[in-house]
């Protein structure tokens, strides 16, 4: 290798830098945290999908994952805990030209914000929801979440979680989401493709990303970052179109990944326009 090549290898910028608020990098995520990978996949998907990035918005709730909105160089909104989806709903309905992507955590979207999730899915609001499921509340120091596996240890389940976690794709499917997929951060390429498909789906799309939280979840469950990714490799089963009832997160049994729902149906604004706007009336005004 020549000296010149060696110099080039020590780069200072990255192909995604145009989508990053580089002045805010390094981000707050811990070494080995899966959020960065999920976020990166999301940015690549946005870029490759060819959507108009000037009209693309990221909305996050609160949590480590919820910091996503703070690093993307797009119009980006970091809202309140659990409320990214209703905020995004208002945004999309007020200006249907916007592509609205919600990037947030499992606690945010499914515990405090669970009600909003099911209603947005039912309405088929044309937004894409990317959920980083790290099986716990990372930001607050690793408490049990609605996604913590049975018997897993967290600061609030010191002897193991007595409860059972949500099967998120099943929930999304049952609530009416028109696109549902699950991948892990190890499957970053499939994940990127799934987010691209989700962006293309004209309705409510949900992508679950299983991700390591080495600092708060991994540490208490004897998983180093690489162990979690090896678990994702060894114990995952890729099965597109698997029935949503088969999708519990049970690492003993194996966890199914893939695209499970891809059934476009009229989205909320199409249905509103058709039902509520009588023919003679003017077109929907896009807010100035």
């Amino acid at each position: 290798m020549t000296i010149a090549q060696e110099a080039i290898r020590e780069a200072t910028s990255h192909p995604l830098d145009d989508l990053l608020r580089t002045e805010r990098i390094p981000h707050i995520w811990c070494p080995g945290c899966g959020i960065g990978t999920a976020f990166s996949s999301c940015l690549i998907a946005m870029k490759e999908s060819g959507i108009d990035l000037e009209k693309t918005v990221m909305v996050s709730g609160i949590g480590c994952s919820g910091r996503g909105a703070g690093y993307v160089k797009l119009d980006s909104y970091h809202t309140t805990h659990g409320r990214a989806i209703p905020f995004a709903t208002g945004m999309k309905l007020a200006n249907t030209d916007l592509n609205v992507v919600v990037f947030s955590g499992d606690g945010d979207l499914f515990a405090i914000g669970g009600n909003h999730f099911i209603h947005a899915a039912r309405r088929n609001v044309d937004i894409t929801v990317v959920c980083v499921n790290n099986f716990n509340y990372g930001m607050t120091g690793g408490q049990a979440a609605a996604t913590t596996p049975h018997l897993a240890k967290t600061t609030t389940t010191p002897l193991g979680n007595p409860e059972s976690p949500f099967n998120l794709p099943l929930l999304a499917y049952a609530a009416g989401a028109s696109y549902v997929a699950r991948w892990t951060t190890l499957h970053a390429r499939d994940l990127t493709t799934a987010i691209q498909e989700a962006l293309a789906n004209p309705g409510f799309s949900f992508v679950e990303v299983l991700a390591p939280c080495p600092i708060n979840y991994g540490r208490r469950n004897k998983e180093k970052p690489l162990d979690t990714l090896r678990l994702f490799q060894d114990k995952s089963i890729i099965k597109n179109n698997a029935h949503p009832t088969e999708l519990d997160v049970d690492w003993e049994k194996g966890v199914v990944l893939g695209t499970f729902v891809n059934n476009p149906r009229p989205c909320s604004t199409d249905m509103y326009d058709k039902t509520c706007r009588l023919e003679e009336k003017p077109e929907k005004k896009t807010a100035a």
Binding site: A11, P26, G32, G34, T37, L186, L226, L229, D234
Partner: protein, 91 residues
């Protein structure tokens, strides 16, 4: 070599040669790129960056197939690959 290295990406990718670029100061040393590169191109370097992590270094430059997997899994936007010829065309 672990079994999983084979199915991950290798066969979908056109075999071209790549040159890996590392933004050492962004690296937090998680080792994902090193562990999951299908061609074992990378290894931890001995040096520390300013944050105190060991960034990866290129161990086998000629083996990189430009699959971009390191680029996509890196949580820190710290590594990427570029096709070798392209690199020569626009340095």
């Amino acid at each position: 070599m672990a079994l999983w290295r084979v199915p991950l990406d290798a066969e979908q990718i056109d075999v071209t040669l790549g040159i890996v670029h590392i933004i050492k100061e962004r690296c937090k040393g998680c080792g994902y790129c090193i562990e999951f590169c299908p061609k074992e191109v990378l290894e931890f370097s001995k040096e520390f960056n300013q944050k105190g992590y060991h960034p990866p270094r290129v161990k086998k430059p000629d083996d990189c197939v430009n699959c971009h997997y390191c680029e996509i899994i890196c949580p820190e936007f710290a590594i990427y690959s570029i096709e070798a010829e392209q690199e020569q065309a626009n340095p």
